[in-house]
Amino acid sequence: MNLTKINYEADEKWADVVPILQQEGENSLAQIAYTDEYSQATSYLRAVMASNEKSERAMELTEHIINMNPAHYTVWLYRADIIKTLSLNPVKELDKLEAISLNHPKNFQVWGYRQSIMSIIPTLPPKELSFLAKVLAKDAKNYHVWAYRQWLVEYFSLWPTSEGKGSELFFIDSLLTNDVRNNSAWNHRYFVLFGRNVESVMPLDIFTQEINYAMAKIDTAPQNASAWNYLKGILRKQKKGAKEVEHFALQYVSLEDESKIRSSHALDLLAEIWAGEASDKACQALDLLSNKYDPVRANYWQYRKSLIKAAQAA
């Protein structure tokens, strides 16, 4: 379908429809220099919506508008309703969505729409995961895509049972190998391992496995906040103190020999570990962060110090 020049007024197919023009006074707010094409198409959209028409031509009209304004929220709801009413093939619709998803990757509505179409498909279409990989190859941190992928994992129960090829863990690991600072991938890893409501299926040694995984990744990039956050998150989930990884963190920090300090995040974690029983060392670490290794957050590190002092006074 040629999307560039559609003139509804001149098209016999639309002769029976009276367009509804947009009403607004002279001094309205945030007026936009709409193209004539957009003004005309939306006037026909209002007309078919008012009569609740569900037809092939209404499908074409929604596609035309989506291409001009993919954030038009009711046009997507209306299109989904036409598909359901006319029992159109949802898998074919997914194919159609591919181009618009790649052209407008940050659009919010297209992913909610994809979810509503996917909800009427009983089994995971074989192309779905490779399609998502393609979108993530363009932007590996696309928030909407990750949120949608979580829904997909839950809906089709794609929880990983191994790290083998085709599993979510394998996919995440390939993204982290490519960019170990991809926080979205770290978050997805946490989700597929710990986000499931039924905890009984989790292998007992999952915590050890993930602590080792995070430590190995930290060693490749000691200044990567994502991996440190993941490590701390796993320890919290396990309800164990960070004390367990003190020895590990000390590989990147020495209070005696400053030339050996390689990670502000290690200093931060050690300050947390030492806050209770070795508060002098904790304060020393926080001062190093304030004065030298992370001065942009000096106020925060001093606040942390004030918490230690307050606990001592109590």
């Binding site: 936009i32 940050k106 290794y293 004030s306």
Partner: protein, 439 residues
């Protein structure tokens, strides 16, 4: 991407300034002339754009001097024309079928009120000095109540009526906007009472607590990645519900209603880490696809806490490992990012900075470094602010940069309420609308 050069390098020690007249001209243009066709992709957020134009001009002190009473009356009429008969406001006139076409049970779903349209309409009316007396209060409260899902979150779209189909959901932005609307429209003076009377507060609170991630930030919904925009919305809700502690140093005795000290400490850790010297300079690089950037802030609607995705940074630039080492005599320029390991982006100076201010910890970031980022790096010579250094200004980033500066007490700007994103004068008007009971 570049490590920021200090203000000293660039301006030989001259302190950066906010050019009030220049910014006022930018906002008057946005108010009085057609927005360029590029904004067509934000057509469904017309009232969101209107709100940010009006609140910015108000913060600059230019609204009354640059508009006539007749113009303001027209603006008010326009906003009321977007009011939905069943309660709430549309976020643009485009779904209205007009007087000749009756709304039926069959077509009602295609012309809903939106939760974003509703808050931004109410806020814009108050900025314009309207007394909100034409707002359909009871219908709006019923409509909001109907928007809440069993999991505590809110949908964003529904036509009026208690059994209307609710679309959208599981997004803390809609929770935030719904709570703001309740706080304004309810007759109770305190926001927490007004909200408590209208919706299920316990489930709403649980939805938000469940959205805190393992790193301490808060996600759009449970299990998603922590995000500064979501965090702002979540903390604003907790603030309005009186669930945040007021002491800077948390007391050891936990108040069972308030969020736990652990929740708060993990959150403050995450929020303070949003400040970064990793800047993305548009002029330095060709890896940034122009089309992508425009879509970044144009296609996310009707909510306004835009999720900004950025193309992955090239591995060559990411490969280096460094800490932010500075000698103390050299000023730092550092903006804020929205997620871990992302470059600074103007709007997060507000989303993360305002959140810290709401928590009573606005000083945990380096406010001078942030100010240099906004004024030296993203302030544009035609007025307004760009998303990144070297990027042309747009309404959302320009408004949020101003609001951030106002929170931090920038000379020449009115003080701002960080939750409602309106000047404190306007907030005082909202607190005194005629239906508020005087306790």
């Amino acid at each position: 991407m570049s490590q920021a050069s200090s203000a000293g390098d660039k301006t030989s020690g001259k302190a950066p300034t906010l050019n009030i007249a220049l910014h006022t001209r930018y906002w008057v243009r946005c108010l009085k002339t057609f927005l360029p066709t590029g904004y067509q992709e934000q057509d469904s957020s017309r009232l969101v754009l209107a709100f940010f134009i009006l609140t910015s001009l108000d913060l600059l002190g230019g609204l009354e001097t640059h508009t006539t009473p007749a113009e303001r009356a027209d603006y008010i009429s326009f906003i009321y024309s977007c009011q939905h008969p069943g309660g709430g406001f549309r976020s643009f006139p485009g779904t209205d079928f007009g007087l000749q076409h009756a709304t039926t049970p069959e077509n009602a779903r295609w012309d809903p009120a939106s939760v974003a349209g509703t808050y931004f309409a109410l806020g814009a009316l108050a900025i314009l000095g309207d007394d909100l007396s034409r707002v359909r209060r009871q219908e709006t409260l019923d409509w909001i109540r109907n928007l809440q899902h069993p999991d505590g979150s809110f949908g964003d779209l529904a036509a009026g009526g208690k059994n209307a189909t609710v679309d959208g959901g599981q997004d803390v932005r809609f929770c935030f906007l719904a709570v703001l609307v309740c706080a304004i429209v309810g007759e109770e003076q305190s926001a927490s009472e007004a909200v408590g009377k209208c919706v299920d507060v316990d489930r709403l609170k649980q939805f938000i607590l469940d959205s805190q991630t393992y790193d301490g930030g808060i996600a759009r919904k449970p299990n998603c990645e922590s995000h500064a925009g979501s965090t702002y919305c979540a903390i604003s809700v907790l603030k309005l519900l009186d669930l945040l502690p007021t002491d800077a140093i948390p007391s050891l005795a936990e108040n069972t209603n308030q969020v736990s000290p652990t929740f708060l400490q993990n959150l403050l850790h995450w929020l303070s880490h949003r400040q970064t010297t990793m800047l993305y300079d548009y002029r330095d690089t060709d890896i940034f696809d122009e089309e992508d950037d425009e879509e970044d802030h144009t296609s996310d609607t009707p909510g306004f806490a835009v999720i900004n995705a950025t193309p992955a940074l090239p591995p060559s630039l990411l490969a280096f490992e460094r800490m932010d080492l500075y000698s103390s005599d050299r000023p730092i320029t550092a903006g804020l990012n929205g997620r871990v390991n992302k470059p600074a982006d103007t709007c997060y100076s507000f989303w993360a900075g305002a959140t810290l201010a709401i928590l009573g910890h606005g000083n945990l970031i380096d406010r001078d470094a942030n100010r240099r980022y906004l004024l030296d790096k993203t302030q544009h010579r035609i007025g307004g602010f760009g998303k990144f250094p070297g990027v042309p200004p747009d309404i959302l980033h320009s408004a949020l940069a101003l609001a951030c500066l106002a929170i931090h007490g920038e000379p020449g700007l009115k003080s701002v309420d960080p939750v409602f994103c309106v000047s404190k004068e306007v907030k005082a008007r909202l607190d005194k609308v005629t239906w508020k009971r005087r306790d």
